[in-house]
Symmetry: C2
Subunit: 320 residues, 2 copies
């Protein structure tokens, strides 16, 4: 199989690239290295089956040229920054919606028929159905990030219908693990490095969130691509658990050997558009034979370990 991966030097993208190469596939990786890291594809770059294109998904011409010949596109590049959307509303539109359009157009132009897309559980907004199945009631968006991913999902479905493509849409919970460079574990580890005595938590700490390890995530995607064959295949990806934010804060502190005092910003959500309870129904992907190998706690701990061993990531441009 010849795979084209956008966001190939990112957290999930680079993990997928490694896995695809390990399975013997040829991979073209595409990344503008704005948040992706050359370090993450260091292994891949040593493979003769890997080709890397440093370019932007908003450069439609370059995308068109490089998608040519692929059998499948894994479209993982994104502005994955759900929290800061309202500070730069155009970013989600450009990097998620318009970029997805560009990818689909490049595929159409080149006759590439299969796309796998990293969507998000955020598309469910503040749904009342928890755990949330893929066919939950028509959701109301609460973030520009969710809205931009929903738009991407819609484009993929319409292209599949209009141009005979096949789509795999994955609605992720938050992903943890090696190469993780933003999110609450990152923030907490960074804050505790600066002040080990106190940890300030956004919201009241009672927000309930779900997480999945990146290896489990990549395995789920590859399982779906191999075993599902509808025109549009939508899968929630997550574990069968959730945890409170203050609970994961405790695991992080414990793993670092610290006992900070927790302080809380208060309120039932961490920021505008935050969803206080995210828990996805994952029976559909489990029915294909996949199951996660790591618990949320293990995933948090593995992430802490990796961040401790890779403190350079805290100095990355755009990291937070």
């Amino acid at each position: 199989m010849r795979a084209f991966v956008t966001g190939a030097a990112g957290f999930i993208g680079s993990t997928l690239v490694d896995k695809l190469l390990e399975q013997g596939h040829a991979v073209v990786g595409y990344d503008n290295l704005a948040t992706g890291r050359r370090e993450f594809i260091a292994n891949a770059l040593r493979s003769s089956k890997f080709e890397f294109i440093e370019a932007d998904v908003l450069d439609a011409t370059c995308l068109n040229e490089n998608v040519r010949g692929a059998e499948i596109v894994f479209h993982l590049s994104a502005n994955a920054d759900v929290r800061f959307g309202i500070e730069h509303p155009r970013k989600d539109l450009d990097q998620n919606t318009i970029a997805t359009f560009n990818v689909l157009e490049a595929m159409r132009t080149n006759g590439v028929k299969t796309i796998a897309f990293s969507s998000t559980g955020s598309v469910y907004g503040e749904t009342e159905v928890i755990p949330t199945p893929e066919d939950a009631p028509f959701p109301m968006q609460t973030s520009l990030y969710g809205a931009s991913k929903l738009a991407g999902e819609g484009l993929i479905a319409a292209y599949a219908e209009g141009f005979g493509m096949r789509g795999f849409i994955f609605r992720f919970v938050s992903i943890l693990g090696e190469r993780y460079t933003h999110g609450h574990v990152f923030d907490f580890v960074q804050k505790l490095a600066a002040d080990p005595s106190t940890l300030h938590i956004l919201g009241n700490g009672l927000q309930r969130k779900s997480y999945l390890h990146v290896d489990d995530c990549v395995e789920a995607m590859l399982t779906a691509v191999e075993r599902a064959d509808a025109k549009i295949n939508i899968f929630n990806l997550g574990t069968d658990e959730y945890c409170e934010v203050k609970e994961s804060a405790r695991w992080i502190a414990d793993r670092l050997g610290l006992a900070p005092r927790f302080t809380y910003a208060g309120g039932d959500r961490g920021w505008i558009g935050d969803v206080p309870f995210i828990f996805l129904d994952t029976r559909r992907i489990r029915a294909l034979g996949w199951q996660p190998k790591r618990s949320i706690r293990q995933s948090v701990e593995l992430t802490v370990d990796w961040l401790k061993a890779n403190e350079w990531v805290f100095s990355l441009r755009g990291a937070h």
Copy 2:
């Protein structure tokens, strides 16, 4: 009230403008006259309370300048061309999704807090729940038009959450009535003018569709804006009926005094992405006290009468 109306010279937009002026409101109409017609705002232009800006919603600077001072934005400009989406995939993205983003940004910049948006029943795709309520199961898009409108809805909800706006989202069935310039009644009247003996119908004629008269549509929008007060207010707009395509073809022929032979292209849908059965549950808008004054048959007949009296519309650029 000072209202800003995009697509002000279009079919629904100009009808809304007339109604707003009749109610004594000040109106700024914005239209690039690509498919809108100066004829449709001839009355409005005689009012001292109406100001017309001939410009494009993709011109963000011009939009920003003119939205200033509005209390409510009715965003009706769109590529409303559901059938030909796959011939020019970028059009729906530009004119529906990005245009809606531009309108929201102009509102944010100018502190305008209320938007009313013409979405579409097409966002439900081929739902299995019929009549379809607003909280139907998470739908799968089947057209670029539906996908682009869904994206617009998502943007509005995210802006409402992020920036303290209020949104009214109207999911229309097909609208009929005076100033109607595209759609199946237009096509059938045009075909019968060319050849009164035969009418060729796309699909098998058994597609079941819903229609609403433009005056009923505008009245529903204004009722909702006046009486609903959630952050995001979503309403299906339609009648409590549907009809088969061949049934409406018969009404059209009868109204024209013709008895053509019907021929059928065959298949259960008229084109790629066509939805064979559209029927919306409108209990939510009815609960506000609104109800349509015209049946589907009456709306079809009034549309035929208007087209006969205004044959110039058949020579419009882009009309079909």
